[in-house]
Symmetry: C2
Subunit: 337 residues, 2 copies
Amino acid sequence: MKKLTIKDIAKQFSVSISTVSKALNDSYEISEATKEKIQKYAKENNYKPNFNALSLKNRSTKTIGIIIPTMLKYFFAQVFKGIEKAALERGYKVIACISNESYNKEVEIIEMLSNGSIDGFIISLAKETELKQNFKHFQNAIDNDTPIVMFDRVAQTLNCDKIITDDFNGAQNTVEYLYKTGHKNIAFVSTMSDFHIGKQRFLGYKKGLENVGIKFNENLVINILERDYKKYESILIPFLQNNKIDSIITTGESAAVASMKAGIKTGKEVPKDLSVIPFSNGILARHSSPKMTTISQHGELMGETAAKILIDKLEKKNKDTITKVITTDLVIRDSTK
Amino acid sequence: MKKLTIKDIAKQFSVSISTVSKALNDSYEISEATKEKIQKYAKENNYKPNFNALSLKNRSTKTIGIIIPTMLKYFFAQVFKGIEKAALERGYKVIACISNESYNKEVEIIEMLSNGSIDGFIISLAKETELKQNFKHFQNAIDNDTPIVMFDRVAQTLNCDKIITDDFNGAQNTVEYLYKTGHKNIAFVSTMSDFHIGKQRFLGYKKGLENVGIKFNENLVINILERDYKKYESILIPFLQNNKIDSIITTGESAAVASMKAGIKTGKEVPKDLSVIPFSNGILARHSSPKMTTISQHGELMGETAAKILIDKLEKKNKDTITKVITTDLVIRDSTK
DNA sequence: TTGAAAGCGGTACCAC
DNA sequence: GTGGTACCGCTTTCAA
């Protein structure tokens, strides 16, 4: 069964295609009688205006391109959910692409979609791209009138809308919280020291220490490569043995789980002897034992916000370039005393 | 900067648009000299044939529509990764939509995309749809020449390609494995007894018991509603107290984590007194303590397979309706003795 | 109130 | 080797 077109309907009623088009769009030019019968027929036969014809005509696809490093991390899946939801509400579709942390893949995807497939992009940087600090492919898109909204891992030097987590304050507040609940030897475990957001979290940690009057001790900071995820525990055990530590802030969940395990293996009880708080987005935190207190990031809200800002821009409801900060919340569970 | 079109190039060199079109497509009709200069100019100015014009002309969008219940479960994220990868390799884009387990949302999405936006669908049923067993919206799409490939949660009664996990054998083999490693009181915890795949897993469990000569005991089977996920542990504690159980197979990760916790709270050691094996897709299993032995599902492979089968169908490389079974693997970790 | 025709950006057939 | 033109499905202006 071939799809019904305006032409078919026109033939059916022996009228012109313009009459049908106007009738379907409820134009005042067309008589009630004609409109009614055409609309009825269209509905009954499940007529749908062809997407590509419309997009061609309108020079607008009502489609958003998403480029994210992975869908396997809960945070990104959450953001995606938010984007998809907000987009659909406003009649937009979402083409989702995975960069796999690769610069080349990112470039390819932009190329592929820069042919009128999409009206705008929502992007979080691939690790490689962030290290390279090469944003030509994005600048290109922007120059071609394709707006970009970046979230979480954003290109500092690129002039586009941005949604970021309040990483600095998140870390700072957490240090203060730990201090208030009786911790004096607060360690910082980072698996993203190369990333801008990793640096912000570290700076927030330092500032937090300063605020409560604890002297910064670089021995209590450890940077681990994310790709060494299998060795987290074996790296953290000596770290805990060789230093006096009563609490740990980590930049992610896996490192927090490993910290708790390392703590237990070095004879500490969580949270009695060791409190652990990750920046996190939920899934492991809620299933570990004990369940973890987290610096929660509101991924879904980030996604919704990104979509709204992009669509506002596409529909000219907003012309300025804005950077929106989404605050973090400390969600208290059982890994802190 | 407006996007370059064939017309612009034609004007630039004072030739006709057909000449440009042919030159860009490297037609033998055009002189080398002309081809060269036009191709060079196009490349330098980043010319890209307009997607919507092409789709309109070719009646093919090279785009796949995905409808899945959620992206927050690791399994679905894995499948998505596989689809996206395989699709991109063959020059296809992917529009991803979330049904949120809702029948109405599923219908809406199909409606939205059935206007020439996509060439075919890859779908995993929303829970509501599976309960309703109402597949009209899918049948509609198929009747309109839009092929559908279903995976994991498939519509039994719908005539379309399907990719399924070998749930029955996965459970059966696991029972046999547990028996061989010295377990006699094997329990079955299901959080998807309403789903077809849940039933298959249960039947496989029963068959496995039969194979090794253990009499089926319905007291060792418990069905929990997934929405009661917060109560898993409190439901499982009496289950473990009131029955003699030395091992548990669960249909999902969360229930397995809860089983281990319940086991510990009732004085059992994992895996010494209690072995736990979930059907699973990895993330919690690898971070729990102890790490869990799993019946692994190969989500990414499922996704790749689904994409390939759909694209083969779209490109007429395959006309038959096929059902492909992806086998499970028992991945041994530390939750079994 | 209805219809003809141009145009969105391409491709491809047919003339020249 | 190059150009004219119809067509993909739809909207919109202008004329009837």
